[in-house]
């Protein structure tokens, strides 16, 4: 939401920069988080609902100061509350203001998720604010944000080896990252080999046209119940990768993952769990 004061400031800065003949880019390295992109997205996703901004008591965001590799920027969405029956996080949005498709992902979670922490990786081309917005089960919205600087050198968000990525298309690696113990949130990782590309229009220099093909939905179920459901797109890195939690329980013997891409290709994988101790 753009307050009247920040609108006024934007107008004033605009006038000053017109007079000086310079651009806004000379402002402080970390600019205002009230970006034009966010104003539009906020309205589109949440209308006029209030959002607790950067309080840090419900959700936090792990993001690097600078993207090292523009195609693989690790991002952590971190819950500060338990995923218990009372108040829990039921949805997380990952927003990258300056990306061509700024809503990189939205995750739906349940108390069976154990912990509403999700790690993934994004592509990042420009200096931008990255945000996580959490919706708790009482309908409240909470946001955390970090300003991330673009990678230097010749780093690009594109894949590094197009042929290899296509040759391995759809392979899934699904594994546990910790001990399985009943009633204790357990970390798992699911990664799918996929070019996850946005496609491109006819390129003026190279005359190439590449159709888009990207992962658009990911679902993980445990003991027959969906514990993580995500709508994603090509802001997520090549070979989409998710680290998340689930809550082991007696009788739950396997995790299943289903991945659907923009060409409606479906990939799935099952992870058998060691017998859960009671």
């Amino acid at each position: 939401m753009t307050s009247p004061r920040s609108l006024l400031r934007a107008v004033l800065v605009g006038i000053v920069s017109l007079m000086l003949g310079t651009s806004l880019a000379i402002a402080a390295d970390e600019p205002s988080p009230d970006t034009e992109q966010w104003a539009g997205l906020r309205q589109y996703l949440f209308a006029n609902r209030p959002i607790a901004d950067n309080v840090g008591d419900v959700v936090d965001l792990d993001a690097p100061f600078r993207a090292e590799d523009a195609s693989v920027v690790p991002i952590g969405l971190k819950a500060k509350i338990d995923q218990s029956g009372g108040r829990y996080i039921r949805k997380l949005w990952l927003v990258v203001d300056k990306n061509p498709t700024p809503v990189a992902a939205s995750f739906e979670l349940t108390p069976e998720s154990g912990r509403a922490d999700v790690e993934t990786r994004i592509r990042l081309e420009e200096y931008t604010w990255v945000r996580v917005i959490a919706e708790t089960s009482d309908g409240q919205l909470h946001m955390a944000r970090k300003y991330v600087r673009a990678a230097g050198g010749c780093s690009a968000p594109a894949g590094k080896d197009n042929e290899a990525a296509l040759a391995r298309l759809g392979k899934i690696k699904f594994k546990l990252e910790g001990e399985v113990e009943t009633g204790k949130p357990t970390l798992a990782q699911m990664m799918v080999s996929h070019p996850n590309n946005s496609g491109m229009q006819m390129d003026q220099v190279t005359r190439l046209f590449v159709p888009p093909q990207y992962v658009r939905h990911v679902e993980v179920a445990y003991g027959g119940k969906v514990i993580l459901s995500a709508d994603v797109d090509f802001s997520i890195s090549e070979n989409p990768n998710f680290r998340f939690y689930f809550m082991p329980k007696a009788g739950g013997s396997e995790l299943t993952a289903k991945v659907v891409d923009s060409k409606d290709l479906t990939f799935s994988s099952t992870l058998s769990l060691p017998k859960v101790g009671i």
Partner: protein, 308 residues
């Protein structure tokens, strides 16, 4: 009559290109000229002069290998050629897609007759996917008034090795499996035993991984076995003599091998990517580690996590 021709030729030359000071070059072997760029990120001050390029003069024509990171570096390259030889440029070979190696091509695109622009057959796809990023990067680093111009390759090199004849002098152009990038080429001057390695070889400048770590490690023995008497790296000083050439390959190999082994060890114990980037510090002895080592760890991790 001869005087008239001369006048016309001069008019044509001054009309077609802006006057630029010739870039400094070393004649590392008879007819083989090399410019050593700075070991630095591109900035407005250095105007993209941050990589090596060279040219080889035959009896009939000249081949250019890479052209630096801006139109200005290409203009300085062209002026350097003109201060050495009046022969036409028949080939402009790009060792890979990175902008610090190809943006000078813009200054060579209007030459008459037009040279062949030679690149890997995988370069067009890589360029198409990266061109908008590279454009934004150049505008940010060089300045908004120095918009980059990309030149489409006219001649693509696949798995088959290609010979380019410059008149009593042959260049061998080889394409490589994914290593520094997925579109690396090398150029060998058979007459002098000089290998232009592009960014398959870094000297002093920390190696930069934008292709495949295991692929690069696998190619180095083959590159080393080409037994060049002299190798021009993409960045850093020329290595001359068999011992110096071997040492340069070995030093790069050691960095990449150490990176591979430490990232594999992190993956084995389940270290998350962000933590691996923070903990696997750069070895001593390379320049620009603060810019590229963390990125190399990131790229290596994203590649090696797919190993079984």
């Amino acid at each position: 009559m001869p005087a008239l021709v001369l006048t016309l030729a001069l008019t044509g030359a001054s009309g077609s290109t802006r006057a630029a000071d010739p870039a400094p070059v070393n004649e590392v072997a008879p007819g083989v000229f090399v410019h050593t760029g700075q070991i630095a990120e591109a900035t407005r001050d250095n105007d993209g002069d941050t990589s090596n390029w060279g040219f080889v003069v035959g009896e009939r024509c000249i081949a250019v290998i890479d052209s630096g990171g801006s139109t200005a570096t290409g203009e300085a390259l062209l002026a350097a050629i003109r201060s050495q030889s009046p022969l036409p440029v028949c080939a402009v070979i790009s060792t890979h897609v990175h902008p610090d190696h190809i943006l000078g091509n813009a200054a060579l695109a209007s030459l008459k007759p037009a040279p062949e622009f030679v690149a890997s057959q995988r370069l067009p796809a890589a360029l198409a996917a990266r061109q908008s990023t590279y454009t934004a990067l150049a505008l940010r680093q060089l300045g908004a008034d120095r918009a980059p111009v990309f030149v489409a390759p006219t001649s693509l090199v696949g798995a088959q090795t290609v010979q380019i004849n410059l008149g009593n002098r042959d260049l061998t152009v080889r394409s490589w499996p994914t290593a520094h990038t997925d579109n690396d080429l090398t150029v060998s001057d058979e007459t002098s035993g000089t290998l232009f390695a592009g960014d398959l070889l870094f000297v002093d400048h920390i190696p930069v991984l934008d292709g495949s770590l295991t692929g690069w490690l696998a190619q180095i023995p083959t590159l080393r076995a080409l037994s060049a008497t002299r190798v021009v790296p993409g960045h850093g000083g020329v290595a001359s003599g068999a011992a110096a050439v071997a040492a340069a390959w070995d030093r790069e190999h050691a960095y990449l091998l150490d990176l591979r082994d430490r990232v594999r060890a992190s993956l084995r114990i389940g270290t998350a990517l962000a933590r691996a980037v923070d903990t696997l510090t750069a070895p001593a002895g390379w320049q620009l580690t603060e810019l590229y080592h963390r990125r190399n760890v990131t790229a290596a991790y994203a590649e090696l996590e797919w190993e079984d």
